[in-house]
């Protein structure tokens, strides 16, 4: 009974009822109906993934590597069934908030398994989760902590394409604010930014009051308990995006000779005084490159002559002594100069900096009496950062 086309809404697709996970074979093959393509499943399992994670069933997103998952699912088939049953009915997705699911079905732990065997109780919560039907479905009631803390991580990733001459072709920033909130009771938080106009497009956790954002550019919300993604945002190519690193490269193949020259140097550009660390340079060399003999000024490098993948783990960049990688490439003798130029891929991290310049102004709590501990961390990472040569 195909549910036609509402794949994003009802990825479970065909199965009537919720016996989805238990028909013939365990594993994901069952709830991946034949006429559904891979994408829709992912669209949904994207949401389901963290649930699997929290249940310790799964190392990666559900649906990623079914083979590895199979034994884990086999061992926990009852729990998986119970979770799926709560998530889906008649192919309609219902509850996917992990908070709710955790309350409905208690995650299996060694302790609980022991207790269950002794007392005969089950993993199934025998009470209706309070949040499920309330106005704040994402938060359970009766949360209690001795230490009340709220941490926010502002993490930005730069996606950029830099051309041969070092100028930026396109650059954009994907940012998220991940939160870990452990607060007693029903706290009502507001978070304000120094420069909220920077944010181009924002997607909120359902808890954020949209009206307030529209009118005042303030995030006002009753947070879920524990870890959640408060906000993801996008700073587009229209605004000027600061590029924190540059790559100087000199890669030359010569037509006649069987040797090519290779030299790259990485240096900091607009880092606002912060150190760039965790730098890794990778590059897919053309097929004609047989081997490379290179000397790095720091870090380690590898070249895989089969996949032609060059990888250089640079580490920190010291602005006084820029890291470089120099040497020669041995090319296939007699073959003509490769047609394509290698593209250099860059990974890096900058602590305590949000490259867009986004800054949290203040965080206030209403509705509860105690004084929470608050913390905000910034980090900039390279997303898909590519330098063409």
């Amino acid at each position: 009974m195909p549910r036609k086309s509402h794949f994003l809404a009802s990825p479970g697709g065909t199965s009537r009822g919720s016996a989805a996970a238990s028909n013939s074979r365990p594993g994901l093959c069952d709830w991946r109906p034949a006429e559904c393509s891979r994408q829709p499943i992912r669209a949904w399992s994207h949401r389901a993934a963290p649930i699997g994670d929290e249940r310790n069933l799964d190392k990666g997103p559900l649906g990623a590597r079914a083979e590895e998952l199979e034994p884990v699912i086999k061992d926990n088939v009852v729990v998986v069934y119970e979770v799926l049953e709560e998530m889906l009915d008649n192919g309609f997705p219902l509850a996917t908030e992990s908070n709710i699911l955790k309350e409905l079905i208690k995650p299996p732990t060694i302790l609980r398994t022991v207790v269950n065997t002794i007392t005969g109780s089950t993993n199934v919560g025998d009470q209706l989760p309070t949040g499920q039907l309330s106005v704040v479905p994402w938060r359970r009631t009766g949360v209690k902590y001795t230490n009340n803390e709220a941490y926010f991580d502002v993490i930005e990733e730069i996606d950029a394409i830099i051309d041969k001459s070092g100028s930026t072709i396109t650059a954009e920033i994907q940012g998220v604010i991940d939160a870990c909130v452990k607060l007693t009771g029903m706290p009502d938080l507001t978070l304000s930014f120094m420069n909220p106009r920077l944010l181009d497009d924002v997607s909120f956790h359902p808890c954020v009051r949209f009206k307030r954002w529209e009118s005042e550019r303030i995030l006002s919300f009753i947070p879920p308990d524990g870890n959640f993604r408060l906000l993801s945002y996008h700073v587009s190519a229209q605004n000027l995006v600061a590029i924190p690193v540059y790559v100087k490269h000199n890669i030359s193949f010569r037509d006649s000779s069987s040797l090519g020259r290779f030299e790259i140097t990485v240096g900091p550009k607009q880092t606002m005084g912060k150190t760039i660390e965790g730098v890794i340079v990778t590059s897919q060399m053309p097929k004609g490159v047989l081997n490379m003999s290179l000397t790095p000024s720091q870090g380690t490098h590898t070249f895989d002559p089969v996949t032609k993948m060059l990888s250089w783990d640079v580490g920190k960049i010291n602005p006084q002594k820029l890291p470089s990688l120099k040497g020669t490439m041995s090319l296939q003798a007699g073959a003509s100069k490769p047609d394509e130029n290698p593209t250099i891929n860059l990974q890096f991290k900058i602590q305590q900096l949000a490259i867009s310049g986004l800054k949290v102004n203040r965080l206030d709590m209403y509705g509860e009496k105690y004084k929470p501990f608050k913390g905000i961390k910034y980090m900039t990472k390279a997303g898909k950062f590519q330098v063409r040569t």
């Binding site: 086309s5 509402h6 919720s18 238990s22 006429e35 049953e85 497009d201 590519q386």
Partner: protein, 933 residues
């Protein structure tokens, strides 16, 4: 199915019947585990059902799971469970009530279903919303099992009442259930939405979970607001959903907005705001994982085709990263081309050139093609594209060169006589071509421009050597190219053409090839002039976007944004089986006020909005035309098949061809008529039919007046001449009909024009091949050019003609309609138009009234366009449609026009501005003629 060992079943049975609760539970778990791996444990049915009465929720769930699985195979036993269900539906714990009602719906056994109606009815009115929302879904399940039962029991009405429930989750599930039922029964009119219920849904929308929001949004999308006000207010309340973290919610919201935007007037401020709000969420979707990106890109592809203005500034986000998966790369590339315009073409080309040096061969090929598509789409960029392609050819990378040649062929077709200088470079790469498509393209180019390539015959001959090893595509092209070459350079290539004709007709098994060979052969042997007209006919220019989704399908797909249909770009009926009624969705009708509000200032340059791209006629038309094609006199000697065998090629080519070869007056067709026959996207066999028909079939040219008597027989010693003027794709001709009403044979016809205002002159001599015997009539189309000597005539469009035959010389004069002089590139840029209009002094403005024309602005504009009067801009001022139009005469005079049309009033006001005001009167007459015929 695996059968478990008997011992195992026995053991389980014993455990199931154990007194110890714990043991029982473990046993059920084991049963479920066996069931899950595919063992048949149905034999344990009664024992498992016995465990049903328990207060342990987990155990209950497992037993229910077992029931769902085996109830169908053991319907009689399943009845045993009914009592427990009924009891559970009254349990004080809402979780158990909900579990029972949910499981009930999954037991697809008719006998049981009847018992379940009462419990379900109770649950639908349960005090706990968790139970109500589960019961709502159960109605949908039940409807699937037994629709009649659900209707008889009145569940549908109860379900409709739930739309007004106080709990948003219940509302969402009720909507989901109703939508599903409505989908399988399109006629039932279940979701009878009205402004009140819409209001309730919109309120629930803000409060329910993400999935509930999707149900509600999808349901809203099916609603048709009564006016643009209502549409706007719904849009306003849906827009906040664009900021949702769940991409499915975002897409559903986009769908609702795209649909309702259709009803909003374009000059509304809100319309612009909405356009701006739609772009960022779409861009953000692209930052997800590649699989989601792909889904987003497929949807964006639809949106860009429907409303290019939304993303016109976001070109850069579609730039390809080298480690994007190939499916994402190709989709991005496609969208880049759709967004390409004069403003961003430089950037796009630089990117495409970069891609053309990547490693991935498939992607490189597509990138090279994309450059060609850009050239065809954005006329101003054509030159740059061609030089980029030439650069790429210089790289000598084999597959790049081949792709480049294929697209250059398309560019030649779009812009004839502009870039032929590159042919030399192309010919250098002839030897490296090994793919059929590239070889075919190259052969087409050689044949098409044979007169400019000195060694065309050698080149084609070199291909001919391996004729039988070539693919059909190449063979067909080679055949056509050599025939073209022969018609252009008959003296040197006779042998070659005989060779290819005999290869195609005698040595080939391919019916397409044989048929085409015979058609050419017959044409050449019966009427070489006709052959020339057919083979060297002008081809219609190819249009910019042949790959656009057909508009009605596009509109339907817009209604399916965020579903599988939008990823496949196919309507659901194309891939959903199961015979469920599929409703064809369509966009709401556009409001009349927004129809023609595009003003020169706001309309995006190069955007295809409003203009219907003229696509190459479908194959059906071609075949139709072919049937009308008269292949010479029906009785022309013995049947061809035999003649070719008996006489061989040499004889066949005698006769009629002599005149062609030896004729001193042999003239190549005017340079402007560059035909093209490589309809690459079509089947190879058909591409040449195209070739045949385009010369004969009626092209959408400008208006042609019926033939009028120019020279009565009594004035010309029995020679009667009827004639008219036509203009087709860039060339003017004078169509004459000569009738001999005298008693003697007429021969030696010739024609001459006196000097005239626009330098009209015959481009070829008047060729009447056979002597005209008494009472015989011939039809002749005489090509004209405008390079003759110029003298201002009075009236301006007066033409004096002299016709000579063996009897005498006759003179007559005729008036030609001015529109035959309107050239194809008479469309002025908006900005230039504005400037020119201001620049021409007011005293040059002439006003006319066109009376009694029943057409509306759209029809007027399209009719004028086919006569090369181009609508530069359209504006609606105080209820009147103002069309701003431009046209250019063959001598380069521009005429600017403003046509004012009041709906309902058949009289139009025409104001003409021109630097040479004396033409205005005649232009007005041309308008009259075109519009009233």
């Amino acid at each position: 199915m695996m059968v478990p060992e008997l011992g195992e079943i026995f053991e389980l049975k014993a455990e199931l019947n154990s007194d110890k609760k714990e043991k029982k539970k473990e046993a059920v778990k084991k049963v479920i585990a066996s069931m899950t791996v595919g063992k048949d444990v149905s034999a344990l049915f009664p024992d498992v059902v016995n465990c049903m009465q328990t207060d342990n929720l987990e155990l209950k769930k497992l037993v229910y799971l077992y029931l769902m699985n085996y109830a169908k195979s053991q319907p009689d036993m399943a009845i045993m469970a009914v009592n427990t269900f009924v009891k559970d539906c009254e349990d004080p714990n809402p979780l158990i009530r909900a579990l029972a009602v949910r499981t009930m719906g999954c037991i697809r056994v008719d006998k049981i279903t009847e018992y379940l109606c009462e419990p379900l009815r109770k649950c639908l009115k349960d005090e706990d919303p968790y139970v109500r929302k589960t019961a709502a879904v159960c109605v949908a399940k039940l409807h699937d099992i037994n629709a009649q039962l659900v209707e008889d029991q009145g569940f549908l009405d109860t379900l409709k009442d739930l739309i007004s429930d106080s709990n948003p989750m219940v509302v969402a599930n009720a909507v989901a259930a109703l939508s599903e039922i409505a989908e399988s029964h399109p006629s039932s009119n279940l979701l009878d939405l009205n402004p009140q219920s819409i209001n309730k849904l919109l309120t629930a929308l803000n409060e329910c979970t993400e999935w509930g929001q999707i149900f509600i949004l999808d349901c809203l999308a099916n609603y048709t607001p009564k006016d643009d006000r209502e549409a706007q207010s719904i849009c306003e309340r849906v827009t906040p959903r664009l900021s949702h973290a769940n991409s499915a919610v975002v897409l559903s919201a986009v769908k609702v907005l795209m649909k309702f935007m259709e009803m909003l007037s374009k000059d509304l401020d809100y319309y612009g705001t909405l356009l701006k709000k739609l772009a960022p969420p779409l861009v953000t979707l692209l930052s997800a994982e590649p699989e989601l990106q792909y889904v987003a890109l497929r949807n964006i592809n639809l949106i860009v085709q429907k409303r290019p203005e939304i993303l016109k500034h976001e070109m850069k986000v579609f730039f390809v990263k080298y480690n994007d998966p190939i499916y994402v790369k190709l989709e991005k590339l496609d969208i880049m081309i759709r967004l390409a315009s004069q403003a961003n073409i430089a950037q796009v080309l630089a990117e495409l050139k970069e891609y053309a040096t990547e490693v991935d061969v498939d992607f490189v090929r597509k990138a090279v093609r994309a450059i060609g598509r850009c050239a065809i789409k954005v006329e101003q960029s054509a030159e740059r594209c061609v030089s980029t392609l030439l650069d790429l050819i210089q790289t000598k990378v084999n597959y790049v060169v081949q792709e480049a040649i294929v697209v250059i062929k398309d560019i030649f077709r779009k812009y004839p006589n502009k870039y032929e200088s590159v042919i030399a470079t192309l010919c250098e790469n002839l030897d490296s071509l090994d793919e059929p498509e590239a070889r075919a393209a190259m052969i087409w180019i050689v044949g098409e421009y044979a007169e400019r390539i000195d060694n065309a015959d050698e080149l084609l001959e070199s291909f001919l050597e391996g004729f039988h090893d070539e693919s059909t595509q190449v063979q067909l092209q080679l055949l056509t190219a050599i025939v073209k070459l022969f018609l252009k350079k008959p003296t040197e290539t006779q042998e070659l053409v005989q060779q290819v004709l005999s290869l195609a007709t005698q040595d080939s098994d391919n019916p397409d090839l044989r048929d085409r060979g015979y058609i050419y052969w017959r044409l050449l042997s019966t009427d070489p002039v006709a052959a020339k007209e057919v083979v060297l006919a002008e081809k219609p220019l190819i249009s910019e976007e042949t790959d656009l989704i057909e508009p009605t399908l596009l509109d339907e797909l817009i209604c399916y944004i965020g579903t599988l249909a939008s990823v496949y770009h196919k309507p659901p009926s194309a891939f959903v089986e199961g015979g469920r009624g599929v409703v064809h969705k369509s966009l709401p009708p556009r409001t009349a006020s927004s129809e023609s509000t595009e003003s020169p200032e706001t309309a995006p340059a190069g955007a295809p909005s409003g203009e219907q791209p003229d696509v190459i006629p479908a194959q059906g038309d071609l075949l139709g035309d072919l049937l009308n094609l008269d292949l010479g006199p029906p009785v022309s000697g013995p049947p061809l098949a035999t003649s070719s065998v008996q006489m061989g090629a040499v004889d066949l080519l005698g006769g009629g061809l002599d005149s062609l070869i030896g004729g001193p007056n042999f003239v190549t067709p005017p340079a402007a008529t560059v035909p093209a026959n490589l309809g690459a996207p079509m089947g190879s066999g058909l591409s040449d039919l195209f070739d045949l028909t385009s010369g004969v079939g009626t092209l959408s040219g400008s208006y042609v007046a019926p033939k009028a008597i120019w020279l009565p027989a009594m004035k010309a010693k029995g020679l009667e001449i009827l004639g008219t003027f036509t203009r087709q794709v860039g060339s003017i001709s004078m169509d004459l009909q000569l009738t001999n009403k005298a008693l003697q044979v007429m021969t030696d016809f010739a024609i001459q024009f006196n000097r005239n205002s626009f330098g009209l002159a015959p481009a070829a001599p008047l060729q009447v091949h056979a002597p005209l015997s008494p009472n015989q009539t011939v039809e002749i189309s005489l090509p004209l050019n405008t390079v003759g000597s110029v003298m201002k005539m009075e009236p301006l469009n007066n033409l004096q003609v002299a016709v000579k035959n063996n009897i005498d010389v006759f003179y007559f004069s005729t008036l030609y309609p001015l529109h035959i002089l309107f050239v194809e590139d008479g469309k002025m840029d908006r900005q230039i138009f504005l400037a020119t209009w201001k620049d021409i002094p007011n005293e040059n403005e002439a006003q006319f009234q066109i009376r009694d024309c029943p057409l509306n602005a759209e029809a007027v504009s399209s009719r004028l366009q086919s006569s090369n009067i181009f609508t530069v801009a359209k504006r609606n001022v105080e209820g009147q449609d103002m069309l701003y139009q431009s046209l250019k005469l063959t001598n380069g005079i521009w005429v600017l026009a403003e046509l004012r049309i009041q709906p309902g009033n058949p009289n139009f006001m025409l104001s003409l501005k021109c630097r040479a005001p004396e033409v205005s009167q005649h232009v007005y007459q041309a308008y009259e003629t075109i519009l009233k015929n």
